[in-house]
Amino acid sequence: MSGLINALRLSGAWPLFVKEVLRFWKVAFQTVAAPVLTAVLYLLIFGHVLQGKVEVFNGVGYTRFLIPGLVMMSLLQNAFANSSSSLVQSKITGNLVFLLLTPLSHRAWFVAYVGASLVRGLAVGLGVFLVTGWFAPPGLAEPWWAVIFALLGGSLLGALGLIAGLWAEKFDHMAVFQNFIIMPMTFLSGVFYSVHSLPPFWLGLSHLNPFFYLIDGFRRGFFGVSDVSPWLSLGVVGSATLGVSLIALHLLKTGYKIRH
């Protein structure tokens, strides 16, 4: 572990990672506490309205069913928000120049931004889990699946946020990415329902959404049951993470929209 940190320190990735973590931690009320509160409100309202009316898996009440989905949704949205908002802010205010002038490689940038996104995603996810779990403990049937999908989900969205942050030239662009891509993909991924309750067309469409596999695989860790095999989910999510990471690395290497 100390060897890894040393290597990261030498590459410059470690200080950038620490800086990125400090950046959101200094405003943790807004970047961690606020999303936890939002998730709790979802749980209270949807749970109250639908508890007892919907049973998705045998023996799993709706409130309990909802918790893993909410945890994952919050994790994904905040991992994305971290890298994307940091980059776009630095670009607009111009202080990205301090980083551009350093000898950091594109790999160091990638590791640092995605790593910090993962930390924020996990912090928010854990917060949501602890608070909502207090209302209805969801159990942990196969916890390793929960851990694997949490790590992959945070990395995937961190890398996606990196791409969005590089591409966006103003906050409007970022809002487009967030509202028209990230939000629909998370809401239509089975956070609030099992996709098996959907009509065939929407069921088919859900299977094209990598977020569906993230949530389904994550939920497996809590209930030991899922809509599709967790191995299939792992394959899809792993491939998506790899693909998105390669694109992000390529954009960083070529200095897309940051080195003219």
Partner: protein
């Protein structure tokens, strides 16, 4: 080996459907330990050239090296050698002055840089602002932090892109004393500035850019000697006769006219007398860098 070498650097980009040639084959070298001034009007390509050197921008063709290392293929080495003070007053609002400097140090692999950071803070008059958030600083203070940030890794080559634009006199003095000392200690300095008296006072050698081309490159003293003429300076409230107005440099009430010898001075005074133009504070002096600059930019190198 040169500290910095520009070799046939060109840069063109498309703006509003039109190709703009920002740099058209610029070549020159800056030697180790030199204090080099890069002058030119707005849009001449000074910042573009510095951006290419710093890796913020990429040359369309040509090559730039820092102490023999290519800024593109060997960027990590090149950037360790460079300390760049950007022109824009930028800062990271999340951090205090000391935090910003420690973070910048760590990017260069310096984790125990506290002593040098303290020294920088002291020399730039920032010691009492060390723990203030960047947002609370005035423009001049932010500029000092930019200078400190560029120097955290003790770079052998310091690049200052118009560091004194909009800066008060006190900071200018502090800054130049500090930079001159670093230069004496062996650091190479590349400076772009609008203040020609600064360039004249500080730079050993000067390059002038005009519309993306290098139009002058010489020792400062040689450039000044190149304009053998003297200048006639005076103040007036009256309109100048047309014949003189053409070649005059006018700043408010102050008028400056090139005059090569006594006969020319007599002729100017005669013209002024005939047109009943009343003058005050008449003096004759040597041409300064501003005169050289203007004559080169007008394409009539005297």
């Amino acid at each position: 080996m040169s500290a910095v070498s520009f070799q046939q650097v060109t840069k063109s980009y498309v703006s509003a459907g039109r190709t703009v040639a920002a740099l058209q084959g610029v070549s020159f070298d800056i030697q180790e330990g030199e204090f080099f001034g890069l002058l030119g009007p707005n849009g001449a390509g000074k910042t573009t050239l510095i951006s290419i050197l710093a890796g913020l921008s990429r040359a369309t063709t040509g090559k730039v090296t820092v102490r023999g290392h290519d800024v593109v293929t060997d960027y990590a080495f090149a950037r360790r050698q460079l300390g760049v003070v950007p022109q824009e007053l930028v800062f990271d609002p999340f951090f205090s002055v000391r935090e910003a400097l420690m973070i910048q140090s760590a990017y260069f692999g310096l984790n125990k840089n506290g002593a040098w950071v303290d020294e920088l803070l002291h020399h730039l008059g920032l010691s009492d602002k060390a723990d203030a958030n960047m947002r609370q600083l005035s423009g001049g203070m932010k500029r000092r932090v930019l200078v400190a940030q560029a120097l955290v890794h003790k770079p052998p080559v310091i690049v200052l892109d118009e560091p004194t634009a909009g800066v008060d006199v006190e900071l200018r003095q502090t800054l130049w004393q500090f930079i001159a000392r670093l230069n004496k200690d062996g650091h190479t300095v590349l400076l772009t500035t609008h203040y020609l008296e600064e360039a004249e006072a500080l730079c050993h050698r000067i390059g002038m850019l005009k519309q993306g081309k290098l139009v002058a490159l010489d020792r400062t003293s040689a450039l000044l000697a190149g304009t053998a003429h003297t200048m006639l300076r005076f103040k007036t409230d009256d309109p100048l006769p047309a014949a003189l107005a053409e070649q005059a440099r006018i700043t408010g009430r102050i008028v400056q006219l090139p005059a090569h010898d006594a006969a020319e001075i007599e002729a100017i005074l005669a013209t002024l007398r005939q047109s009943q133009c009343r003058v005050e504070d008449l003096e004759i002096g040597r041409a300064d860098l501003e005169d050289v600059f203007l004559s080169i930019m007008q394409g009539v190198h005297a």
